[in-house]
Subunit: 116 residues, 3 copies
């Protein structure tokens, strides 16, 4: 059985609804298969994870995806430039120093790249 691997890239707040629907669809489409999904947010898209600004519906969607082993990963450069403190974010988020480096490394490891 093939081990599918994919990294989704998002850098605009306006794309979150589409991105979350995309990831949901993939999980449904490939249930019972071995699949590794990472969502990498950089630029303004990192603001989505500020606990006090995230609505209940979206938070529930994210938690459901996390329960399906989707990894959410934020760019620390983007957190700094948006002046976002780590303790204002929802729990269980990964941080990488540079989002674009993460996107490159994962592709070098065989991940597919999708930018909704």
């Amino acid at each position: 059985m093939q081990n599918y691997k994919v990294i989704f890239h998002i850098d605009e707040m306006s794309k979150w609804k589409l991105l979350l629907a995309n990831v949901n669809n993939m999980i449904h489409d490939l249930k019972n298969q071995s699949i590794t999904i990472e969502v990498l947010a950089n630029s303004e898209a990192v603001k989505f994870f500020i606990q006090n600004e995230l609505n209940e519906n979206d938070y529930s969607t994210i938690q459901n995806l996390m329960n399906n082993n989707v990894l959410f990963c934020l760019c620390n450069n983007s957190l700094l430039s948006n002046k976002i403190e780590l303790n204002t974010l929802i729990p269980n988020i990964s941080i990488v120093s540079s989002g674009v480096t993460e996107l490159m490394l994962k592709q070098h490891e065989g991940y597919a790249y999708i930018k909704p």
Copy 2:
């Protein structure tokens, strides 16, 4: 001779003009070479293929690309969420259950990914 393979991704109606020009340019640039081109449309971009709403010029461009072996492939999740019936689409379109899965699978098969 290398067998070039590429999948173009489109999920916005406003990007069709650019995408079709991109694909045309690639075909001209690589004529007489072995190249496999797929265009994967999901989200609102699937509406482009509704026969009654497609203008003559764009339809002729698409038919010309099809004659050059370009495969146009639509996401069924997106057709459902946009309430589009299959019998309203132009002929010779491929349908996959999930567009993002298709994008991942093709990259795992060695296709390059381009998002205009």
Copy 3:
């Protein structure tokens, strides 16, 4: 030591600020490592390199990236369709006949693809 390779794709003028910040971040993040970075501009994004229209700040950023071995590469189809003469561009820019072909070829050579 791994040789990292990445091609950044841009086809909208409005994305240049984000793209240049992304490339800068990657260079800082991976300093002292072996990394090959190419920026491929097509469609309207090629207009950014017209010498008389480029502001001093952006020009200085680009020159700094070039000094860090970032290759800036423009699509000739896009130069033609935007009626841009080669002698109006800043120096040390590469030109390829088709931008999308370049994006495909580089991915076939193992480059990661990032579209800010």
